[in-house]
Amino acid sequence: MTGSRLSRRAVLAALASLPAVPPLASASAGRPAVVTTAKLRGGGFGIVGLDADGAVVFVEPLPDRGHGIVRRPGGDDVAVIARRPGRFAYVVGAESGVVRAELDLPDTRHFYGHAAYSGDGHLLYTTENAFVTGTGVLGVWDATSGYARLGEIDSAGVGPHEVRRAESDGTLWVANGGILTHPDSGRMKLNLATMEPVLARVVPGGAEAERVLVLPPELHKLSMRHVAVHRRAVAVAMQYEGPESDVVPLIGLTDRIGAPPRLLDLPEALALRSRQYTGDVAFDASGAVIGAGLPRGGFFAFWAAEDGRFLGSVEAPDGCAISGGAGIGRFVISTGTGGRVGHVAASPAGIEVAWTRVPEVAAFDNHLAA
């Protein structure tokens, strides 16, 4: 019996009876179970590999702050992308952290921070800003020949941030945040009054992205920045660029093209604390649970994918990165300031977390690959 054959309801019911304490898989001690980027305690930034107990296996220096991290299917390459508006991206060995390739970006582009591989692992897609025209593109790289640049495709929106591949059918989902920036102005947002976030998709082998979801005008300041996919279910995590005191939905969930997304709510006290800002989103391995990091609120929140009900939260000052872990209801999370990694078991009975402090790390970045 596998998770994917179960209905979400059955999975959720089964979850409630699982042991609450997350297992620390000591069998794989010494092998990197988590690859992420971080600000290092000794100074500078790096790519960090951690084993399942949170012990550091490797640290590879980065020239500046990293951001997105993605594993290549069918191999042990891991691509690490610079934080926007950075221009570096490296491919490293998942076991060793050793750099295998560096992406050579055209002068008129900068990275937006995320990347995804094609299902066969042959291509890597990176979100980029074609800043002369202010249009968003996906750079396409050949992972089979040293990551040569093959070309690019329009992302169908301004400010593409995260791109993720659906494991089930290979579709790429692109969260176009809608916010225009220019390297001359650093990270300043130049078009908040007119921004238009767009969720787009690229079918496998497709040459263009198609717009799938555009928010209604009253929600045009909800910047769709991160996306998680499980089979047909797509979760988008948003950041609101309007007044802090507005309470707006931060996670949208859709599993049918054309249907309005279901908007996931937080209890009011948490909604206020959130500052209307999410930094990462993930499904667990079964697709039954959705988790999100809310660094401005200082917590992670979890919902049932089936009906969108709130399952609970984990306090985590400056916590952002979240990824599905090994097993249903399991997640791996980390904190910025404080440098901690947490193993989460989420179920309708509650959210359990076991934290490990990583002394080599001053602050973990926004994302991790478990």
């Binding site: 650093g186 300043m188 130049l190 009054a193 802090e244 660094p295 300031t337």
Partner: protein
């Protein structure tokens, strides 16, 4: 024994915590009542004067009179004196963009204004495109005027600016949930803040982002990478020649915020006072000096910014200004924030 030990701990902890809380509340009151509200009152007054001046000129069959130009400059400067406030009523209903839609790389203002001119005004200017409701649109009407024919649109924009200024002020002080209360009485359900520390962080964020905007948008964009690569028309307000005035008003606003509105010779208030209460006298003195030097440098640039960026001698002064504003910003982020117990999160402030 255990009870006694707990009590001793409490006795040791409480006074320190009490002092900290009191200091934070005093700081919030200083910043809000000493700087933010007076700045918004000045903005309300100056936009009213502007609206009246436009009415008076148009009644005489003119628009771009000296009185209108002066009132326009005063009102825009008053707005710049509030731009370090980035939370609260100014963010409601897109007001910050309606008051000043800039930078405007695609020139939406001119395009939307052409439509508005052709129509002789809007049925409701508050519902017109964001880009035509504010200072940049009015600047075109006054400084690139097509004459008294521009009066209907100019009167609408000026009156709407005053209305927004008045609404921001009342949003801070009146109604069911005045934003002032959200900041000075956090954790009472009046707003989104739970502690005075959060209120201070929200206010300080604005000071830092104002300095960041001076650097990135107001100076570096027009400066370009050399005098032959300068972009004068990327300067804010180049049509009216107010670019440098607005930068000076920004700096004055942030400095006044830092001092909680205290003038020279008055008792220390605001961030300055909070630093001194925390025993950070040297840092407080350093900040006062940094603000003074930076404002002096801004005062010494000759002529309009659009001309200064192509003049090598003036560029040197502007580059000095860039250095000083950068230093000021770094000092607030790296020294003042930690001294006040404000921790900026690595991911919380990341913006991705």
């Amino acid at each position: 024994m255990r009870v006694l030990a707990a009590l001793l701990t409490a006795l040791w902890v409480l006074p320190a915590a009490g002092v900290q809380a009191e200091a934070s509340e005093a700081l919030v009151l200083d910043l809000v009542d000493g700087n933010v509200l007076p700045a918004y009152r000045a903005f309300e007054t100056q936009t009213e004067t502007l609206s009246l001046a436009v009415e008076a000129a148009c009644a005489e069959g003119a628009l771009a009179t000296d009185a209108v130009k002066d009132a326009f400059a005063d009102a825009w400067r008053a707005w710049a004196g509030t731009r370090h406030v980035v939370k609260g009523p100014v963010t409601y209903f897109d007001r910050q963009f309606r008051i000043e839609f800039w930078p405007d790389a695609r020139n939406r203002t001119s395009r939307a204004l052409a439509d508005l001119r052709a129509a002789g005004g809007a049925p409701d200017i508050a519902e017109a495109p964001v880009a035509v409701q504010g200072f940049p649109a009015l600047e075109r009407l006054i400084h690139q005027t097509e004459g008294a024919g521009d009066c209907p649109v100019a009167r609408q924009i000026a009156a709407n600016l005053h209305r927004m200024a008045a609404e921001i002020l009342t949003g801070w002080t009146e109604g069911d949930r005045p934003f002032r209360t959200a900041l000075v009485a956090p954790g009472t359900g009046a707003g989104v803040y739970f502690t005075h520390g959060e209120s201070v962080t929200a206010l300080m964020t604005g000071a830092v982002s104002s300095l960041e905007a001076i650097l990135r948008l107001r100076l570096k964009r027009p400066l370009g990478e050399g005098s032959d690569r300068a972009r004068p028309k990327r300067a804010e307000a180049w049509r009216s020649g107010l670019s440098l005035d607005l930068i000076r008003a920004d700096l004055t606003g942030v400095a006044d915020f830092h001092h909680g509105g205290a003038g020279p010779g008055e008792d220390s208030r605001g961030v300055d006072a909070a630093l001194r209460r925390a025993g950070e006298t040297e840092l407080a003195d350093l900040m006062a000096r940094a603000f003074r030097l930076t404002r002096e440098t801004a005062a010494t640039v000759d002529g309009p910014l659009a001309e200064a960026v192509v003049d090598p001698a003036a560029r040197a002064v502007l580059e000095e200004l860039v250095t000083q504003v950068s230093a000021l910003k770094a000092l607030i982020e790296q020294r003042v924030g930690p001294a006040l117990g404000i921790s900026a999160g690595f991911n919380a402030l990341d913006g991705d």
